[in-house]
Every structure is written in structure tokens, then in C-alpha cells.
């Protein structure tokens, strides 16, 4: 048989039906559902008198629109409350497992899927959320879909898809000390630009990727969409299997499953439509300066000026970004002063992220000009962090310690920036208004965010004492 890529194998395994010149009908192994992109889909089912085909392959939680303050209090915003009540009622009506707000396993959908062992190698996983690419870290084909497609998957357990092309992003060598998975992915997006991956499914390969922990791999795959790729994946290996072993919903005969998963990685000699190679040693800690994640530089450099870009569209984009960000161009990154720090989101709110941030914060005080918050990615992460005493480290340093949820990653709940506030954030999007109208977001790693909270401005984490 012709050598195949990881992507090609998963694709081939899931084609239910394919007619020439048409989209393939692909089988979906796992459908994750949340409150914001699902109500209209369930309504569609009811109107057409349809049922959910495989409720046991569908898992729901509320995360986007939930308060991260005291959960014993009723939700203050009546429209948010209605949306969450609607999801709960829909799950009940259609027989879907739902992790409610007071459930210890509630959390951001892309954090709880892997944590509970729902996410497994070789699967096709979809969710009405663009960061579904996170699950690709396990060697799954995982991507975001729209609400009409959510309805399609609920009704048929399949999805219509055009086959994407494949893009290999290979990172050779070892990351330097102080450089994290977040810096790696921000760097890659900076290199390929925010739409460089459009139309592709990315596979991350190379030594620097192989040596990442599972949680770090999730950080990388999570941001695939910020480079335009709907899906990003990493071949499963022993790191993957060790992470999954013993988790709640993994296959009962785990060793047999592992034996099957071992067949998934890309065969030697298989071809990608496009391959790009990078050197890990070239990567320094990264800070975004603009209004899309591709507008990023190393912490030890300066904010660019529009004239630094070659094409007129890029110059205009840069000029508009600088104006929105309240920057002139030319400032040293480490001179940028911060008002807020947000450590959280499906990119960087797992236990390793919180440990990295706490290691920096331990024994220091948050700058008096900065308001800093830590929002764990899930109830389980929160419990574990508290068992390890990380909550104490953060609290003593002056960080606000919150309940799990998306929180200020998209600022749909009460956690948001005021106009003009500058924020160091471990999330994934620095779009205009993403964290609150007029708010200015700089994306960084957890350690860089914690250091910035303490110093009151960005610091090169490699110099941190």
C-alpha cells in the first residue's frame, strides 16, 4: 500500500460514503457540545422532528458563558442563564451527557475532553468551536464546525467534508530554556501568518514537537486555527498513551487500543502537500503586538512599524493594529506597561500551565498597577492545583483565583477589559475587542504572563530571578 500520512489514515477510516465530485460523508466518533453554538441546532432538530442519532457519542458542557465567581449564587445575567438552561433542557430531552456548572468535572470543553479520556487517537472529533483543533494533540482529526453542521452531526453522526490539503510543520532541535510550547506556536503562526494554513490540515512533526508533554502538545494544536488551519495534529506515541492510561472513558481493553493506535503515525515516505521546516533554537519567548495572532515578535525586540512590511494590505493592517493597540511602533516590548493579566483559556489553563505560572509568582507580589486573575481550565484542574497549594501561591502573590470557564478569553461573562486597558493574556486571540471593547490584548506564555503581572511590564522570562 502507498505510504499514508496520519491525516490520510484517519480520513480513510471514516469515509461512510463518497461520490465523485461530491463532499465525503465522514463518520464522527465524538461530538462535543457547548451552550453558545448549539441552541439553534437543537431547535432545528425539533422543527424537523429528528432525534440525536448517537447520544452516547455526544458530550456537553457549559463553559463560554458561565460566571467564574461563586457558583452557589444564581447567574446574574438572565440571557446567559437562559442559554445555559436551554442546553441543560436540550441534553435532557435528547439523552446527552451534560456536565453542569456545579459538577466537579465541568470545565472548558477542550480541557475536559482529554482530561476525561473522551479524546482518543484516530478519532474524528468535532465541536461548534474553532479551538476543537486542540484534540489533534492526541493524533485525532479534530476541527470546529458551524451550528448548521452541529445539527447535521446530531441528526446523522456524520459530516459532509471537502478533503483539506496537508501541511507539515516540522520543528527540529530542542527548545531553549524559558521557551515554551506557547512561544513555539506563536512563532510558527508569525512565520506562516494568520491565514497561511487556510485549506490545510497541519501535522506538527520534528524533535521539538516529539519532546513536548501532552499538555504542551494541546497548546500547540489549540492554536492551529490562528494560522488558518481548521485542524492540527501530532502523531500519537508513548507520551500520548501514558497520558491516557487510566482515564475515565478510555477503552476498557487499553492495551489492545494502544496496539491499534500504533498504526496511526505517518508512514515513512508518505507525502504532504506542503512541508516547512523550522529550527527550535531560533525561537525566543514571544509577545503579540497587534490584533491577530500572526502579529508577533520576540520579547527582546521592538514593536514593528508599518514601513517594515512589504505589501500595502499588510501595511494597512499593521497601521490599524498599532492604532487600536495604542502603540506607535518602535517601542521595546519590555517597556510596555500592563493593566491586567489573564492566565486561563483552553490554550493555557491546564495544570502544567498553572504550575509554570506559580513557579514564577512564588514569593513575589503582583505590581500595584496590575489586576491579575487565574482561571483554571476545568474543575479538575482547579482541585488539583489546590491540592498542590498553587491557589495559595497565587493568592499570596495577589492574583485573583477563580472558578473554571472560558472567562476573559472571550469576555462573554462579566470578566472583561475596560476600553484602553492593556492585558498580558495566555489565551489565543488578540482580535479587537476580544477581551472587552477597546481592550488591548498581548498573547504570551503562562510564565511570561505571571512575570509581567509582577513587574508591571513585559519581561524576558529568561532573565527572571
Amino acid at each position: 500500500m502507498k505510504p499514508r500520512t496520519l491525516f490520510q489514515k484517519i480520513w480513510d477510516n471514516h469515509v461512510v460514503h463518497q461520490e465523485a465530485g461530491r463532499q465525503a460523508i465522514l463518520y464522527v466518533d465524538l461530538h462535543l457540545v457547548h451552550e453558545v453554538t448549539s441552541p439553534q441546532a437543537f431547535e432545528g432538530l425539533r422543527l424537523a422532528n429528528r432525534l440525536v442519532r448517537r447520544p452516547e457519542r455526544t458530550v456537553a458542557t457549559a463553559d463560554h458563558n458561565v460566571p467564574t465567581s461563586d457558583r452557589s449564587l444564581p447567574i446574574a445575567d438572565p440571557i446567559s442563564k437562559q442559554q445555559i438552561d436551554t442546553l441543560r433542557a436540550n441534553c435532557k430531552e435528547f439523552g446527552i451527557t451534560y456536565y453542569d456548572l456545579n459538577d466537579a468535572q465541568q470545565g472548558i470543553v477542550h480541557v475536559i475532553g482529554p482530561e476525561l479520556g473522551y479524546t482518543q487517537p484516530g478519532m474524528i472529533i468535532v465541536c461548534g468551536d474553532s479551538h476543537t483543533s486542540t484534540h489533534g494533540a492526541f493524533g485525532a482529526l479534530a476541527f470546529g464546525i458551524g451550528t448548521s453542521e452541529v445539527e447535521h452531526v446530531l441528526a446523522t453522526q456524520t459530516l459532509l467534508q471537502d478533503k483539506p490539503k496537508t501541511l507539515e510543520l516540522r520543528v527540529d532541535g530542542e527548545l531553549k530554556p524559558g521557551v515554551t510550547a506557547k512561544d513555539l506556536i506563536l512563532y510558527l503562526i508569525g512565520q506562516i501568518t494568520t491565514d497561511g494554513g487556510t485549506g490545510y490540515c497541519v501535522e506538527y512533526t520534528g524533535e521539538a514537537i516529539r519532546s513536548l508533554t501532552m499538555e504542551n502538545r494541546m497548546t500547540v494544536c489549540n492554536m492551529s486555527i490562528e494560522g488558518g488551519a481548521r485542524a492540527g495534529m501530532i502523531a500519537p506515541d508513548d507520551t500520548t498513551y501514558e497520558y491516557l492510561r487510566g482515564r475515565k472513558f478510555v477503552p476498557k481493553d487499553f492495551d489492545a487500543a494502544v496496539a491499534k493506535w500504533r498504526e496511526l503515525p505517518t508512514d515513512p515516505g508518505a507525502e504532504y502537500d506542503k512541508s516547512l521546516v523550522f529550527q527550535a533554537a531560533d525561537i525566543a519567548p514571544q509577545v503579540t503586538w497587534g490584533t491577530n495572532p500572526g502579529l508577533v515578535v520576540s520579547v527582546n525586540s521592538h514593536v514593528p512599524k508599518p514601513a517594515d512590511f512589504s505589501d500595502t494590505t499588510e501595511q494597512k493592517t499593521a497601521a490599524a493594529a498599532l492604532e487600536y493597540m495604542g502603540l506607535k511602533g518602535g517601542e521595546a516590548i519590555t517597556d510596555l506597561k500592563l493593566d491586567r493579566v489573564f492566565i486561563g483559556s483552553c490554550t493555557n489553563a491546564r495544570i502544567e500551565d498553572l504550575r509554570a505560572a506559580a513557579a514564577v509568582a512564588r514569593g513575589h507580589q503582583v505590581s500595584e498597577n496590575v489586576n491579575a486573575m487565574v482561571v483554571p481550565g476545568s474543575g479538575q484542574v482547579k482541585i488539583q492545583a489546590e491540592q498542590e497549594g498553587l491557589d495559595k501561591v497565587f493568592r499570596e502573590a495577589g492574583f485573583d483565583w477563580r472558578e473554571a470557564g472560558c472567562s476573559m478569553c472571550l469576555a462573554m461573562n462579566p470578566d472583561k477589559l475596560a476600553p484602553g486597558e492593556r492585558c498580558a493574556s495566555t489565551s489565543n486571540r488578540n482580535f479587537e475587542g476580544r477581551q472587552g471593547k477597546g481592550g488591548r490584548t498581548h498573547l504570551v506564555s503562562p510564565a511570561m504572563a505571571a512575570a509581567a503581572a509582577i513587574a508591571g511590564h513585559f519581561v524576558d522570562i529568561r532573565d527572571w530571578k
Binding site: Y27, A48, S148, G228, E314, R429
Partner: protein
């Protein structure tokens, strides 16, 4: 699903790249549980000043943009979040066609599910349309999906490149779910073959 065959309408030019779905419809409007009524919130942050009054500089607030149904923009339109609320808002506002050099994948897909036609043209063709939209006011285009031609009254013509199956579904207004369910036996067969039957 809504069908799309041909549409003639007024063009509004938005000279911006990477217009993301957070701009098209900000999150505070995603709490609604209906599919309709998003049009009034389209481009909310750009369309108003801090005091809540309309921003006179914003493209859609210009007098010549009144009644426009074709949106012209730069590359990577619709990037970011998967929210289908973005095409819902554009459609509810009155847009039927969006033209850009490239679109983000999820947004592009979502348009077809809502009877809207996203048209990818070359950078040069898009530039040409930007020029024409300033030369002629008002400026109108006709998008004919049947003959796959985009044209104006002043001699412009470009081919609408679209995957044949998507074109077919959009022309007919076919319901995806209904289409897929015609192959329900295949789905069951797949489930049985893979030990997924319940």
C-alpha cells in the same frame, strides 16, 4: 436551506484584511438562542462611537452604503471563531454575496448553509473592484451562480469558482441533512462494520 441563483445588488467596499468573526458579531450578542435578529448588531464595535451614536466613518454607515447587499473585502475574511452567528448577522442585515481574495474555512462553509454566496477572486480582480466601487457610485454587481459569472454594467466580468457540489446544493437550496439521510443505510452499515452499533 435557502437557495441562491442570481443576485444583482449594490456593493459596499470594506478595505480591510482579516475581518474576524468577533468583529462581524461580538460575543455579547451570542447569548441569544434564536437564529434570527442578529443583523442590527452586525459590526457593532466598528459601527458605533463610544457614546453609542453611529460612527460616521464606518463603511456601512456611509449614505452610499444604504441598501447594499454585496460586501467587498480584503483577504482572509471571516477568520477566527466558528460562530455561525456571523453569516446569520450578515444575511439578516441584507447581504447575499461576499467577495474577497480568500475566506477562512469555517466561515466559507457556514455561508453556504445560509444561502449566501462567498466569492473568491484573485487579489488583482478584487483590487479592480475596489477601484470601480470608488469610480462609480452607486456601484452594482451581478452574481449569477448558474452561469458562474460575476459582472457589472461597465464591462467587468470574472468567473465564480465554486466547488460543483456546493454550487448544486446552493442552486437547489437542498437541505444537507435530508441529503445525507438518503444514505442512512450506509451510515448503519459503517456503524455495524466498526462495532459502533448500539
Amino acid at each position: 436551506m435557502k437557495s441562491f441563483t442570481t443576485h444583482t445588488g449594490k456593493v459596499v467596499a470594506m478595505d480591510r484584511a482579516n475581518v474576524d468573526t468577533d468583529q462581524i458579531i461580538p460575543k455579547q450578542f451570542l447569548k441569544r438562542i434564536e437564529r434570527t435578529g442578529f443583523g442590527e448588531f452586525l459590526f457593532w464595535d466598528w459601527s458605533q462611537l463610544d457614546d453609542g451614536s453611529p460612527n460616521p466613518e464606518f463603511e456601512l454607515n456611509q449614505p452610499q452604503a444604504e441598501g447594499a447587499s454585496i460586501l467587498l473585502a480584503r483577504r482572509n475574511f471571516g477568520c477566527g471563531s466558528s460562530r455561525e452567528h456571523a453569516p446569520w448577522a450578515l444575511e439578516d442585515y441584507g447581504f447575499r454575496v461576499i467577495i474577497a481574495p480568500s475566506f477562512a474555512d469555517i466561515f466559507y462553509n457556514n455561508c453556504f448553509k445560509n444561502g449566501m454566496l462567498p466569492i473568491r477572486l484573485s487579489e488583482a480582480e478584487v483590487e479592480e473592484l475596489f477601484q470601480r466601487a470608488t469610480q462609480h457610485t452607486p456601484y452594482a454587481l451581478t452574481a449569477d451562480l448558474d452561469s458562474q459569472e460575476l459582472s457589472d454594467a461597465h464591462g467587468f466580468s470574472a468567473r465564480i469558482d465554486v466547488e460543483p457540489f456546493r454550487r448544486h446544493c446552493l442552486l437547489q437550496g437542498l437541505d444537507d441533512i435530508g441529503q445525507t439521510l438518503q444514505h442512512e443505510a450506509k451510515i448503519t452499515e459503517y456503524e455495524t462494520a466498526h462495532g459502533l452499533a448500539s
